[in-house]
Symmetry: C2
Subunit: 314 residues, 2 copies
């Protein structure tokens, strides 16, 4: 350990979002049976946190129509912490009915993106989080609530998003009852310096309740951005197997950080993830087969693990 690496966490969690952010972004509707197979294999490969779907109306996202069924299966898998995306109170009620471990309410710090995507202002989303918190508390469920602040580094519609506005909304989500918050570079506008600046400020507000970083690889910087956040002690990152998903405004460009590449980077750095990378690569190949014709990303699957890897990780 050196001065340059002394602040790195010893353990980190790669939260799989391929079944939600990945599958909702592609035209192929993956059958429920394949989703369950994915979940089973992901858990066998050591994944402990998976976003299994989204409780949005099926007419808007038919890819997510089976979320209740997928969540029910996820709850049977020992050791799996299953999260779902909920766009509103109605979705949250479904998450509570399914006893999700975590529900994530997305908020867009970009007003333009918020109105276009969620048809609400960011502050209306904050108010919705308050209602979700009340519903959760009334339900007796232990489902945690995460407020996910998206377009936190800029927006393809609005352009610049003020960090002060991102931080104000993060504070507002916590005040409204979020158990945790996260920051997302929804459109791949972040760079390691802006990640350092924003996460450093966000940590001052949220401390350990700042639970996750979500970086898209649209311009190739996802892993560099993860590195910047790691150096601040952030130890949970969203990623999707084969890097699927992402930004509809940049066709052909990568989506999320690829789970397998991120897992490799972390393990190579000596940061324990509990993940079995060869098993992830095998699962990646199966998933890529299920969504044949859809763009996939990532580099490790081509190059393979370095000859030195076992020694490094051990």
């Amino acid at each position: 350990m050196t001065a340059a690496t002394s602040s790195l966490p010893r353990h980190a969690i790669v939260r799989e979002v391929g079944l939600r952010d990945g599958l909702q972004s592609i035209a192929t509707v993956v059958p429920t049976a394949h989703k369950l197979e994915w979940l089973r294999a992901a858990v066998a490969a050591g994944q402990t946190e998976i976003e299994v779907g989204s409780f949005v109306p099926a007419r808007l996202l038919p890819q997510m129509a089976d979320t209740a069924q997928v969540l029910a299966f996820a709850k049977t898998l020992p050791g799996l912490f299953a999260s779902v995306l909920v766009p509103n109170l109605r979705g949250a009620e479904q998450a509570l009915a399914g006893d999700a471990d975590l529900m994530i309410l997305p908020l867009s710090a970009s007003h333009a993106h918020s109105l276009a995507n969620l048809r609400k202002t960011p502050d209306e989303v904050v108010a919705e989080l308050g209602r979700i918190r009340a519903a959760r508390d009334a339900s007796g469920r232990k489902t945690l609530i995460e407020g996910g602040v998206g377009t936190a580094f800029g927006c393809t519609l609005q352009g610049r998003v003020e960090p002060a506005e991102v931080l104000r909304l993060m504070q507002a989500l916590l005040d409204a009852g979020a158990d945790r918050v996260s920051l997302a570079d929804t459109v791949g506008y972040a760079d390691p310096a802006s990640v350092s600046r924003l996460f450093e400020q966000a940590l001052k507000i949220a401390g350990e309740r700042l639970s996750c970083g979500h970086f898209h690889d649209t311009r190739g910087l996802a892993l560099a951005n993860v590195h910047a956040a790691l150096l601040l002690g952030i130890a949970r990152f969203d990623a999707s197997l084969a890097g699927i998903g992402g930004c509809p405004y940049a066709p052909g460009a990568s989506g999320n950080a690829a789970t397998e590449d991120l897992a490799f980077m972390l393990e190579a750095m000596g940061i324990h993830t509990g993940l079995d990378i060869p098993a992830l690569l095998a699962l990646r190949a199966r998933v890529a087969g299920w969504i044949a014709g859809e763009p996939t990303h990532g580099t490790l699957w081509r190059a393979g693990l370095p000859k030195t890897f076992a020694a490094t990780a051990a």
Copy 2:
């Protein structure tokens, strides 16, 4: 500026190696006229340091047979600092004859790789550097000598390469008369933590004479590795337009860090490069046309610059 970014350099140089590391790795032999056009356009896009070729026997690398001619043209371009790779004293004599600004002697810290690639042990390469230094001093030329320590993070043949051996060889190169040294992750085995550790140690030995980092993107970590080195104040990085070149042991995998993606990352971080990124993207498209059918890499060319970019960089 925050604690997390305070150590970043304000300026950085992206040294173009596409004409050497890139073109020598592909089967297509790019005509000299295209190389000169590439050089002219690269300088117009703000590139100030370019590795223009390699003085190796033409029967070994026909792609590099016109290096003397390309170097002669490069020397006519105002403001361009032109370097060449030289595998031995014979190559160095050609570099001196052509009045190169810099000659780079590659040394493989992996003994297995050194014997396979250079047919010399690393210490024999150190001795060759001593002879090159004597030849340079006798010539009256101002050509600088860089000792490039490759396979510094591991090797596909040998596996592990001991950091202590990398550092010993770096010191030996300096002792033998190298003006500068650089560290290269020839096969894409580095990660941000190993980069931090090795560069931190190397800086203790070489100080400002540690002039450059060379990272391959074989496993997607090139830009994260650059970020780790930037945080130690390293401010020069090799890269190739369209990410061409790279590792013959990982077919299909990315080669070098892509010039245009690296330039974007640096400028987005507020680190001045002097590069005109749209001009680089335009040149990338032309180069990709000249080498049609060869694999190219990088992400920025697909996604384009963020809407916020001009404001960020200004």
